[in-house]
Amino acid sequence: MTGVAWYVAGRLLQSAVLLAFVVTIGFFVIRAAPGDPVLYLYGAQNISAETLAALRQVWGLDRPLAEQYWVYVTNLASGNLGYSQINREVVSAMLARKVPNTLLLMAPSILLAAAGGVVLGTTACRRLNTRADYVIGAVSMVGYSTPPFWLAILLIVLFASTLGWLPTQGMATLGASSRGLAHALDVTRHMVLPVTVLTWWYLAAFTRLTRASMLEESRKPYLMTARMKGLSESRVFYGHALRNASRPVLTVLGLYLGTMLAGAVMTEVVFAWPGMGLLTFSAIVQRDYPVVLAVFIVSGAAVVVTNLVIDLLYAVLDPRIRYA
């Protein structure tokens, strides 16, 4: 095996241990929260204490916690994420449905924001302390401090209710039986508002980060060297400074991409977007234990894997870093 392969294998092993911790801590934390799914569902109904107890028995909730943990872990080891008694469905099927929806919402938002943020941040740095810099700074400050759910409601009122250009909620027009391109266009129309809200929020983060990072690089002596070599200003700026400044940006991009599987809870709620955020939220409220744990595992694994990929990319960006 090559050095990189060893490095990756070691990191994966580390990740497995990390995920085992996530599962164990997640299991006991969610079980320590008061309330159980049987009471959640039937607590206000006129049913006897005996019926409630019998339901807990049917659902296996009356077993000692350690035993339930062992059952869960052995199932997990054989690739079984469990069964949601509340939703009466296999958990992996629930996730398989939600993950693509969330990716469809989050990936374009984060990538658009990253691209836009790098452009704006670089511009701000190149035109340091000019009007353009101030405008970009002010806009990203506002963007970063705008609560996404509030912006979402404003956009719905303006573009959906008042102007009627875009739908208020959902992922596709109800009852529409469109296929292929027409369906893709329909979904795109539904994506416009939620993607705008999320991009707006992430954009501010990327802009501010890029500007700060570029500013730091632009003060370093190697740029002087580059200029003395006679390189053009744009070559100095984009070829050298930006390349080095992009490492922290890449780190943050990795973090966002890693956590994006957890979804954007408030945005999904307001736009009724059927994604992971909504699923996580309702699973926690309903004490739907296997679903909560599955979300932990899937988003945990996503963070671990993206971080690994980002670490490998560092080596591409920075020749001083070698994994061997």
Binding site: A33, A44, Q45, N46, Q57, G170
Partner: protein
């Protein structure tokens, strides 16, 4: 044996024959005019379910009603009418019920629906291993006989006053698909096969459910609609906005997540938009204030009476509910299904002076820092507002209180299971009120133990006896006397304070016809098979 009509007249809220004739005529007229076809799009709460009424109880009845039928149905006035059973009889002492099934009823897969399916369904509900939340309706089931393919006889050990109120909710399952397997893991939970007016075509959980018309429905010529879509929206304001935009055809109270946003709905109702019809109706559930009667200070009836006198229910309805509620005076409310048992002599008395006097007498004099301190439990959202109003009313009579808010799961765990509620007050709805016995279960001593529904842990021996006795007779005259006595005891002892019954507000675009806002065990969509779209 008594005839069906006589049975309805004696045990359920009866209708005069003339009224029944009138509604039948109007329904006929509607049937002649009703346009066929089209898709109805409704706002809905995510139904976190599998399609099996025996497992889910009365949660999400609207969703169940689309694909299943019970032996009986409700009409637009909330009375029982034939469902899968075309007729039925009940014995004088309400311990034997015989149903004759309508001929030619088919499940969605083409198999005939017979007495065997009915027996199978009722056996599942009564099976202790299933632990069905509906088992309260058939608690003392003795035997089920099926002398032929279209006759079912249920026998009970003693009277069962809940059989007829509950029967509509017990959707009949196809035995050939459910027998012999664990119903909690059945594939038919997600791909239901019933006899109902619609078949489930597509279920995108967390997003929408699509139902298509069952063209072999046993009520010939119905349903009128081609499709019904339940659109799941988790945010009430977004859902209602979507309806105003014309992306949804109707918003029914039962489908609004987190309950009606009263201010927004008041705005629409008052604005009377020309394209939108709104209908207010009394819902069969009431908001009840509970307190822990097993520990100080609420173990003292004088303190509990003082609490009742300190609450201005009218103000709560007016200010918090924007008028969408009715003050409730007695624990047995004034709903159509229970009017016969309701005691109109019991009246709320908002009287802070009397409350102060009672608290003085109870040995809690007025002093700086309050007579005593209590905690008001709440869940996020409306209950916090309600609790703030209560807190102000308690302060006015010298009781200090703080509000502790959580989500529903820990809230109900503390109140129902852990009973860690000494010195605390909270509110919980009593839902789906179809018979007084179901309400009084919430005050029965036998339910005072942890996990039981007597959240207040009030144990009054006389009330306990009466609650059991009133359930053990089919004679409505006798039951009425007992319920009136119980209501007086409850009004005097105040283990709970009934606050208000909620008003539902259903809204639909004017081209939707045939929606009847009735709150029943089968939900607002009891009559979905008569709904049509008339876009001119």
């Amino acid at each position: 044996m008594v005839s069906r009509r006589a049975f309805i007249a004696t045990t359920a809220a009866g209708v005069a024959g003339a009224a029944a004739q009138g509604t039948r005529a109007s329904r006929l007229a509607h049937a002649q005019e009703a346009k066929r076809g089209g898709t109805l799009r409704l706002l809905q709460i995510e139904p976190a379910i599998g399609f099996n009424p025996a497992l889910e109880g009365t949660n999400w009845p609207e969703t169940m009603r689309m694909v299943y039928n019970g032996l009986t149905d409700f009409n637009e006035t909330g009375d029982l009418v034939p469902g899968l059973a075309r007729s039925w009889t009940a014995s004088e002492d309400a311990d034997t019920f015989t149903f004759k099934l309508a001929p030619g009823v088919q499940f969605h897969d083409g198999q005939a629906c017979t007495a065997d399916d009915v027996r199978f369904t009722y056996e599942m509900i009564a099976d202790p291993k299933i632990a069905s939340p509906l088992n309260v309706y058939v608690a003392n089931l003795k035997s089920i006989d099926t002398p032929d393919k279209s006759t079912v006889t249920l026998r009970f050990n003693g009277p069962n006053v809940l059989m007829m109120p509950g029967v509509s909710a017990m959707g009949i399952l196809p035995r050939h698909l459910w027998a012999g397997a664990d119903p909690r893991k059945s594939q038919y939970l997600a791909q239901p096969v019933g006899t109902g007016p619609f078949k489930l075509k597509d279920w995108q959980r967390g997003d929408h459910l699509t139902f298509v018309a069952n063209r072999d429905y046993f009520r010939k010529g119905r349903p009128y609609l081609d499709q019904v879509i339940f659109k799941v929206v988790s945010d009430a304001a977004t859902g209602i906005q979507s309806f105003r935009n014309g992306e949804l055809d109707a918003v029914l109270s039962q489908g609004v997540p987190g309950g009606l946003p009263y201010a927004l709905v008041r705005q629409i109702v008052d604005a009377k938009p020309p394209n939108i019809a709104t209908n207010e109706f009394v819902q069969a559930f009431s908001q009840i204030l509970w307190m822990n009667c097993a520990a100080p200070p609420f173990d003292n009836p004088k303190v509990r009476r003082a609490i009742a006198h300190s609450i201005n229910k009218e103000l709560i309805v007016k200010a918090l509910l924007q008028g969408f509620g009715r003050v409730q005076d007695s624990i047995v409310g004034n709903f159509p299904s229970m009017r016969w048992a309701h005691d109109p002599a019991i009246k709320s008395d908002y009287n802070p002076a009397r409350a102060n006097q009672l608290l003085d007498e109870a040995g809690y004099p007025k002093k700086a820092g309050g007579r005593f301190k209590i905690t008001i439990l709440a869940t996020e959202g409306f209950r916090v507002k309600l609790s703030e109003a209560l807190r102000a009313m308690f302060t006015a009579v010298g009781i200090e209180s703080s509000i502790q808010s959580s989500t529903w799961a820990p809230y109900i765990q503390r109140i129902r299971q852990d009973r860690e509620t000494a010195g605390m007050i909270w509110t919980i709805f009593i839902p789906r009120q179809v018979d007084p016995s179901l309400i009084l279960d919430y005050l029965s001593p036998k339910n005072a133990k942890p996990g039981g529904s007597n959240y207040s842990q009030w144990t009054n021996a006389r009330a306990g006896e009466l609650i059991e006795a009133a359930r053990a007779t089919g004679n409505q005259g006798k039951r009425k006397g007992m319920y009136q006595e119980i209501q007086k005891i409850v009004a005097d002892e105040v283990p709970v304070v009934p606050l208000y019954s909620a008003l539902g507000v259903d809204m639909w675009q004017r081209y939707v016809e045939g929606i009847h806002s009735i709150d029943s065990l089968t939900g607002t969509l009891s009559m979905i098979d008569t709904v049509s779209l008339n876009r001119s």
